[in-house]
């Protein structure tokens, strides 16, 4: 396997937070790789170590099979798009974009052709002569991306590049960044705390918590088959219950028996995602589904979907349903039945990390 970037047992300790512990992972050439986790989990530290702005306390970092631990930041074949755009305020947009080429004394012809190439990818033609403070947030971020991209780095690093933008703009730029990455095939490390962003854009996601990587997988596996509690909880908004698994049944304070498809026994939590639960006014009896009875407590109208909170055996289960025509909306206080496929009840045992 050819990797563009490899971390081998890298640790970095700080007096404050953001430390990382014994991190190992590989990123393939051309991959869009996201580091996902809450703030302070160490994802930015990993990025800064790759860029050379931070020195690892121990462990090795390789780019294209070459150990880069001791290489100064300005000699590394990586470029970063920083969180706060960080354009040089005293330079024009054009001067910002070609900064990296000029510093390395590329001749005018090379610079001009590279600039044209980048502008073909990112539409900035009308802004080239302006100063950064004359641009909107979205435009500034485009310049920052162009400024990194023009250098054709081996690895492109992006540190929450869309964090400061509003939702609509963020979604538009997600599509833009993804399509640029697909057409240039530049290996990209993308740091974000926004799960939908990571799920939508990445080839692979590393979920991080408290300085450790908990799981590295493609978005689908990560969402459907999380291997640990943190990932299960962090992605989506599942209903979580704690109890024991015994003979393919989950037993807890709230539930007498919920069928699961795991054969293992032991203390565990089950995760039932709101969108896999269906409801109806009649009891469903099928060997493939779990069915429980409950009373509608609240209905939250979200526009394109509904969140229904149902009280079941002194606890609450949240379900979410697309707002389409054939959805018959129950009334608050009405008795309904909830049912879902047994194999969709996701189990994480307590001894799994």
């Amino acid at each position: 396997m050819t990797y563009a970037l490899k971390f081998e047992n890298v640790s970095k300790s700080f007096s404050t937070s953001d430390a990382i512990k014994d991190i190992s992972f590989e990123v393939e050439k051309g991959e869009f790789f996201s580091l996902l986790g809450p703030s302070g989990c160490g994802k930015t530290t990993i990025l800064r170590i790759i860029a050379g702005l931070e020195q690892p306390t121990s462990g090795d970092v390789y780019i294209n099979e070459q150990l880069i631990n001791d290489i100064e930041p300005h000699l590394r074949p990586v470029n970063t798009v920083f969180q706060s755009y960080s354009l040089f305020p005293h330079l024009t947009v054009k001067e910002n974009i070609i900064f990296g080429l000029k510093i390395r004394k590329y001749d005018k012809k090379e610079i001009d052709s590279s600039l044209e190439e980048v502008i073909a990818l990112i539409d900035l033609k009308d802004h080239l002569k302006r100063k950064p403070h004359q641009l909107s947030g979205g435009e500034q971020q485009r310049v920052a991306i162009a400024r990194a991209l023009i250098n054709k780095p081996e690895v492109l690093l992006m540190d929450e590049p869309l964090g400061a933008l509003d939702l609509k703009l963020r979604e538009r730029l997600q599509v833009e960044i993804k399509s640029i990455q697909e057409s240039t095939k530049i290996t990209t490390i993308y740091v974000t705390h926004d799960q939908t962003e990571a799920l939508a854009m990445s080839d692979k996601i590393a979920v991080m918590s408290k300085g450790e990587i908990l799981q590295v997988d493609d978005p689908e596996t990560l969402y459907e088959k999380p291997t640990n509690k943190f990932t299960s909880n962090f992605l989506g908004n599942p209903n979580v219950f704690k109890g024991v698994i015994k003979n393919e049944k989950f037993i807890s304070d709230e539930f007498e028996e919920i069928a699961v498809s795991n054969t293992k026994n032991g203390p565990a939590s089950i995760f039932i995602r709101p969108e896999i639960i269906s409801f109806g006014f009649n009891k469903v009896t099928s060997p493939n589904v779990n069915c429980v009875e409950g009373v509608v407590e609240h209905i939250l109208y979200r526009g394109s979907w509904l969140d229904v909170i149902v009280s079941v055996n002194n606890t609450k289960i949240e379900i979410s349903k697309e707002n389409n025509f054939d959805l018959s909306i129950p009334d608050e206080g009405e008795k309904i039945y909830l049912y879902w496929y047994i194999n969709k009840t996701w189990v994480v045992f307590d001894d799994q990390k």
């Binding site: 100064e72 300005h74 900064f99």
Partner: protein, 262 residues
């Protein structure tokens, strides 16, 4: 009385309070009469006399030399310390960060006294005479702090990120300073050049202690004139000094305003 009316009156009163004496002084410097309570006509004669007064011209020359050299030195030293404090964080730098304020807040009389005893003590062992050199050293000693603090206030997290961006974009240490740090702090640098020049040029008490015979600075000379009384000569030389520093200070204020808007 209505609150707004009170505030407005207070505002007008303060501005009159601050500017009336200044305008009066400048006006009187053009008064033909020797007596300040009567206006007999416009004249430039007091200014002409000023430029024929060899003592004043000598003092002006001394002041200029002291201000220029001490400004140069304090920028050199102060900018260096500011960059050092910005880049290096340890116990020593956090001590320096606090200590740097002492020369700014120390009463001028105290500083004057300690510079004097220091130089006199040294003169027992070294060939040191109170004069231009000792004045330059003393002015540099307090100006360094002003420069460090003024430039330091511009060395922010934002600049640190920009420096990181530059090194990420292949700039080496010197290229970072030249391409990013210098342009970023340029307004503050210009402002601190003007400010340390003004502070040195206007300084009285410390200069009075550490200048020797023949190396009197302009403010020290003018101060001795003022003590004697209100005369047309003092009016004109004071007006000139005031207008001179006014122009420079306006420059500083405009620079920092432009910088803040950016």
């Amino acid at each position: 009385m209505n609150r707004t009316v009170f505030l407005k009156l207070n505002y007008i009163f303060v501005l009159i309070f601050i500017y009336l004496p200044i305008f009066l002084m400048v006006g009187l410097s053009f008064n033909e009469s020797k007596y300040f309570n009567q206006w007999t006509g416009f004249t430039l004669q007091w200014y002409e006399q000023l430029f024929q007064n060899q003592n004043i011209l000598n003092a002006l020359y001394n002041s200029m030399i002291v201000a220029v050299v001490s400004t140069f030195l304090s920028i050199l030293f102060g900018f260096g310390i500011a960059l050092y404090l910005f880049r290096v964080k340890n116990r020593f730098t956090s001590f320096v960060e606090k200590f740097i304020y002492v020369p700014i807040v120390i009463p001028d009389v105290t500083m004057a006294a300690m510079m004097l005893v220091f130089f006199i003590f040294l003169s027992n062992y070294l060939e040191i005479k109170l004069g231009i050199a000792t004045t330059i050293i003393s002015h540099t000693a307090f100006n360094i702090s002003f420069v460090t603090v003024l430039i330091g206030s511009k060395l922010t997290r934002k600049l640190r990120v920009l420096e990181e961006v530059a090194s990420d974009l292949y700039a080496n240490h010197f290229q970072v300073i030249k391409q990013v740090t210098l342009p970023f702090v340029m307004p503050a640098l210009l402002a601190s050049i003007i400010l340390s020049f003004v502070l040195s040029f206007d300084e009285v008490v410390i200069s009075m202690f550490v200048t020797g015979p023949g190396s009197t600075t302009l403010p020290v000379y003018v101060f001795s004139m003022i003590k004697k009384g209100v005369t047309p000569a003092v009016n004109s030389v004071s007006s000139l000094m005031l207008i001179f520093s006014l122009i420079l200070v306006t420059g500083v204020l405009l620079l920092s305003r432009k910088d803040n808007l950016k």
